[in-house]
């Protein structure tokens, strides 16, 4: 591969560096794609941190992403809220209108119908935070901002891919933290414990566990039912974990696979012109289409995670047997 190919790579909106890097041993689509959807390696974290109790707390790409997202959300939402609350006559304008719509619709159409009027104000903050956090993580993954940074690093600053520059250190790994099942498992763990806390708050600790199975059934039925319900307790968050992570990973793999066609065709025909031709006629429309689909998917997945968490918490509070 030549530098021409590398330039083409930046046109496709992804790391030029990896394409150029792959020039020596040929383009390996699988490797490139995995590199873009997985976390950066624990062996080369952004910030090295000591192991505590055998756990590596080093700041990898996805840790950085959740910090960036959390910081961004905190600043934007808190600042908008404070500006709004400071007003003498509280008239929501601009961004505040959207935020208010979000707060109200999550409270009134997600939390209220599931959790019930008694605990709606207890659980709305959790649902709001879950929704904005997941949505922001999902959306950030759709923006090729690190690819743009990489281009600036290579072609404006002229650093080599192997250099130890700050920009270079944050380029490795995917940007979608919610595509990593460790992250989604952590969020689902929050859901898991929220269900227990909700049930305990509503019925007391013992009653909550008794509520897992309907009362007044024959003894042999319980022998079957109790293991099933205990399994269900863990299946719920597991399903949440896998649904979100798989959806986020899948969309990115689809986009990246299509983008890889540019380089595969260029390599097969040993001609940059063919690659560009395929890119313009086939790859670009497909990639744009799938990206549009992804915009829907990121919103739906954030909504589904929030909704299901509400439903599970509601089930622990309003027991119907």
């Amino acid at each position: 591969m030549t530098t021409q190919h590398a330039e083409e790579a930046q046109q496709a909106g992804e790391h030029a560096a990896d394409a150029a890097h792959g020039a020596e041993e040929g383009f390996n689509a699988g490797e490139v794609i995995i590199e873009h959807v997985s976390n950066s390696s624990l062996d080369h974290p952004i910030i090295h941190l000591p192991h505590i109790a055998g756990i590596d707390f080093s700041v990898t790409k996805h840790v950085m992403m959740i910090w960036l997202v959390a910081g961004f959300l905190f600043l934007v939402i808190t600042m908008a809220t404070r500006a709004y609350l400071k007003q003498e006559r509280r008239i929501p304008t601009g961004f505040m209108n959207g935020l208010e719509w979000l707060v109200q619709s999550i409270r009134d159409s997600i939390v209220l119908p599931n959790v019930g009027a008694k605990f709606v104000n207890t659980w709305t903050p959790l649902m709001l935070t879950l929704f904005v956090f997941i949505l922001a993580c999902n959306v950030v993954g759709l923006i090729p901002m690190f690819a743009t940074l990489g281009m600036v690093d290579r072609f404006v600053l002229g650093n080599s891919p192997e250099s130890e520059s700050l920009i270079n250190s944050v380029l490795h790994g995917g940007t979608t933290a919610t595509a990593n099942y460790n992250v989604t498992a952590a969020l689902a763990t929050i859901t898991f414990f929220s269900i227990m806390i909700a049930g305990t708050m509503a019925h007391g600790f013992v009653k909550h566990w008794k509520n897992l199975v309907p009362s007044g059934l024959a003894k042999p039925v319980y022998a079957l039912l109790i293991p099933i319900e205990l399994m269900g307790m863990f299946v719920k968050p597991f399903a949440l974990t896998m649904r979100l992570a798989a959806n986020m990973t899948g969309g990115h793999i689809a986009i990246l696979s299509i983008l890889s066609l540019v380089f595969l065709f260029a390599e097969i025909f040993a001609s940059a012109a063919v690659g560009i031709g395929v890119g313009v006629t086939l790859v670009l429309p497909l990639a744009v289409g799938i990206s549009a689909l992804e915009i829907i998917v990121v919103m739906v997945q954030a909504y589904v995670f929030t909704l299901l968490t509400s439903v599970f918490i509601g089930m622990a509070i309003n027991v119907h047997h």
Partner: protein, 168 residues
């Protein structure tokens, strides 16, 4: 497991939980709780102002009704005052009329009486003059022709005639 897609990463797991819980705490304290409160407050404010507007409208309607009633009352009162004064004026007019009538009647009566008196006096005067005239004429005639007996008889006749012709 070599596949980085399914690489367990407890560090990331714990970081995510910590980050999320901190974000949840901060946002709940600084954004969600005040926002939810503000939303409820505004809902209450809107409900209250709508209620107030309704109440004000009702009050306005009541006031309008009351003022219409007052206007009607005032009009009725004015009409009754006019009617009353008209009646009073009628009474006064009738009174004056009556007085004038009796006065006029009294005046006419007085005039009639005076006329009668004057007439009676005039007749008396005329009678005296007629007697005097007759006497002088008679005496002139008698001086020439009659005797003393004839004279007496003539006087008696004349007196009887005059008495007969006197209006009763």
């Amino acid at each position: 497991m070599d596949n980085p897609l399914v690489q367990p990463d407890p560090g990331l797991f714990i970081w995510t939980i910590l980050t999320f819980l901190i974000l949840l705490g901060l946002l709940a304290k600084f954004a969600w709780a005040p926002l939810l409160k503000a939303l409820d407050e505004r809902q209450a404010t809107i409900r209250k102002s709508l209620d107030d507007a309704d109440a004000a409208q009702q009050e306005l309607a009541q006031l309008q009704e009351k003022s219409a009633q007052l206007i009607a009352e005032a009009r009725a009162e004015g009409q009754s005052i006019v009617a009353k004064s008209r009646a009073a004026a009628e009474v006064v007019r009738e009174d004056l009329h009556q007085k004038a009538k009796t006065e006029a009647a009294a005046m006419v009566q007085a005039a009639e009486r005076q006329i009668q008196q004057e007439t009676a006096r005039a007749i008396q005067q005329i009678r005296h003059e007629v007697v005097d005239l007759s006497l002088s004429v008679a005496s002139k005639l008698i001086k020439k022709n009659l005797t003393a007996e004839d004279n007496d008889a003539l006087i008696q006749d004349s007196l009887i005639q005059i008495d007969a012709s006197r209006p009763s």
